[in-house]
Amino acid sequence: MSLLSWLLALAGFTLLALAMEEHHAWLLGREIDRARQRFWRGKGFTLLALSWVVATVGHGPGVGTVLWCGLLTLAAAPLLLARTYVKPPQRR
């Protein structure tokens, strides 16, 4: 359950990052338009919420919420490191 919750948080943060102009441009090499930005952002937050639901189903509302906060940190950190140290895909 923790792993599933973490994966959902990771996916959620990835979408949130892709909804940001700078990171979108870095990964996909093109600018993002408003409508798509809003779309990705909505999906991203939905996945984060889902991640919380999974954590609370697995560990109860109290411990689950605390665990989820920790999971958020551990899901966002690898994205930050990847953004810093991974080379973006080369485009023609």
């Binding site: 923790s2 990964l27 090499g29 411990v63 906060c69 920790g70 810093t84």
Partner: protein
């Protein structure tokens, strides 16, 4: 007139700097204290996996063994306290208070007022150490000063921390725009990125830990709510305990009821409430061996987030329960949830790791904030060869705190291994090793050029950390032996020591190789830079 954000920035900078060094000490020790029991276990190599509790039978055997040992060692004590190990430690510790001790002052368990009981119920000779408890205590009691002063000082710094967090969120308006962004090798910009990343990624933790930290000592900081209802502030804590009629010392030796039956009865009561496990945490016996003996059996505190007061008190002679555990009031439960969230005693292993990692992020946040103060001002120095006194002071204190304190903490681990096992005043000597090493680091930081001092102190911390598991290995109690014994607590402690040693070593090498940028280039706006990187 300065804008709102600008004033918040000044508040953030100066509140942070003023209390930063103390906050670093609080954060790093509090973080280490999440492994309090594991460290205690590591620091007592005389205890083995055979001294762990695996079920009710082990609990009963160890408590009975402790009572036998205490009956011959301290029959006239006013009280005995027997603490059973959790699943994160081994061995039961039995502490007593002498009746004829005129001072009646509190003292930490040492060789003269405590003994250890192994898994077979027999006394064991264990080296005298505070273990992980020291790191826990020092993070709010500090050391070498009265605890009340220390707690006020820590509370003052925590309040500033809360101010720094809130003003920090307002100041760095870009923290959410810079989410997932870290730009290394860009001088001051990188420090700010690092400071923001460690702050934002664990922001829920930082807010929670600072706020709940203040709550744990709220009756000290804001006593008026209590004073409005109780003439003696301590009365509220008596009120929170289970109420049974008092039993004055009768001075009449009387045969005592068997403890096994009381333990069994307590377990049954706890089992029926479905609130986690029903393990026994602590057994307290007041006026042992006397007609007025009372036995308090407390539940193990790792069942729920809120540590409850589910203690059951027995008459020591008849063995009858004198109370049934009552549910806490809503207010008390709220307080206990706050304390539980802060201390994480309930946390299972995954969550404990999250706590530890978040704590490390907080430690790094304070450290990067401190370093940033100098990084920001170094470029603007009129004469970099002779910086003003204030700059030098902050720079040296930063070195001695951020690099020197960890080195001192590891030195305590070494003292734990190197000091003779039977030495008198052993735990104070261990603790002094920490502060002496730290003090030497401060002197060293003042004498050496700043960069050399950073490298040498991080290097020292790294070598000390890496050396510990190797030293244990050479003495025959190292990693391999832990695997053979199936002692995974010590195994992982050694692994974490090695990992932290590598981390410290990496930092030392990075600082060594660091070349300060000569000309500050004007950075291009982020998006354009990103597009350029992506090859558009």
């Amino acid at each position: 007139m300065k804008g709102f954000r600008q004033t918040q920035s000044s508040v953030h900078t100066w509140t942070g700097l003023l209390v930063g060094w103390v906050l670093f000490l609080i954060f790093i020790n509090g973080t280490v204290a999440y492994w309090r029991e594991e460290i205690s276990h590591w620091m007592r190599p005389e205890l083995s996996a055979a001294d762990m509790v695996h079920g009710p039978a082990d609990e009963t055997r160890m408590v009975e063994g402790a009572i036998n040992a205490l009956t011959s060692r301290a029959p006239n004590a006013t009280g005995w306290t027997i603490t059973l190990p959790s699943e994160r430690g081994a061995g039961a510790q039995a502490v007593w208070q002498e009746r004829d001790d005129p001072a009646r002052r509190f003292r930490w368990p040492d060789a003269s007022n405590s003994l250890w009981i192994g898994g077979d119920g027999q006394p064991l000779t264990v080296r005298e150490t505070r273990g992980g408890d020291f790191f826990y205590r020092v993070h709010f009691d500090l050391h070498y000063m009265p605890v009340i002063w220390a707690r006020w000082l820590v509370g003052f710094c925590s309040m500033f921390m809360l101010v720094a967090i809130v003003t920090g969120i307002i100041t760095h308006k870009k923290i959410f725009r810079d989410f997932f962004t870290f730009r290394p090798g860009k001088g001051q910009r990188s420090w700010l990125d690092g400071h923001n990343a460690t702050a934002v990624l664990a922001l829920p933790f930082h807010l929670m830990i600072t706020y709940t930290g203040l709550i744990t000592l709220m009756t000290l900081y804001m006593p008026w709510g209590v004073l409005a209802n109780f003439s003696d502030p301590r009365a509220i804590f008596a009120e929170l305990q289970p109420k049974v009629p008092p039993a004055p010392y009768a001075a009449t030796p009387t045969p005592q009821a068997p403890i096994g039956a009381m333990l069994e009865q307590a377990r049954q009561v706890w089992q029926s409430d479905n609130q986690g496990d029903s393990r026994v945490g602590m057994v307290r016996i007041s006026n042992p061996g006397d007609a007025s003996a009372r036995v308090t059996i407390s539940r193990h505190s790792t069942s729920t987030i809120a540590a409850d007061h589910a203690a059951i008190i027995f008459d020591g002679v008849s063995g009858k329960a004198l109370n049934s555990p009552t549910a806490d009031s809503a207010g008390e439960t709220a307080r206990q949830v706050m304390i539980g969230l802060h201390a994480g005693r309930f946390a299972p292993i995954t969550l404990r790791w999250f706590y530890f990692v978040s704590g490390l992020a907080g430690t790094a946040m304070v450290a990067t904030g401190l370093v940033m103060w100098t990084a920001k001002r170094r470029d603007k120095l009129s004469d970099p060869a002779k910086p003003p006194f204030g700059f030098r002071l902050v720079e040296r204190l930063n070195i001695a705190t951020v690099a020197g304190l960890p080195a001192g903490m590891v030195a305590m681990f070494w003292a734990n291994r190197l000091l003779p096992v039977g030495m008198a005043e052993r735990w104070p000597a261990e603790v002094q090793t920490l502060f002496i090493t730290w003090g030497l680091c401060l002197i060293h930081a003042c004498l050496r050029p700043a960069k050399r001092a950073w490298v040498e102190q991080f290097g020292l911390a790294s070598l000390l950390l890496l050396g510990l598991p190797i030293f244990d290995q050479m003495r025959g109690g190292g990693l391999w032996q832990h695997v053979v014994d199936g002692d995974w607590i010590r195994f992982w402690t050694d692994i974490v020591l090695l990992a932290l040693g590598l981390l410290m070593g990496t930092i030392a090498i990075k600082v060594q190789r660091h070349k300060p940028r000569v000309v500050a280039r004007k950075a291009r706006p982020n998006r354009e830079a990103a597009l350029a990187v992506a090859g558009e």
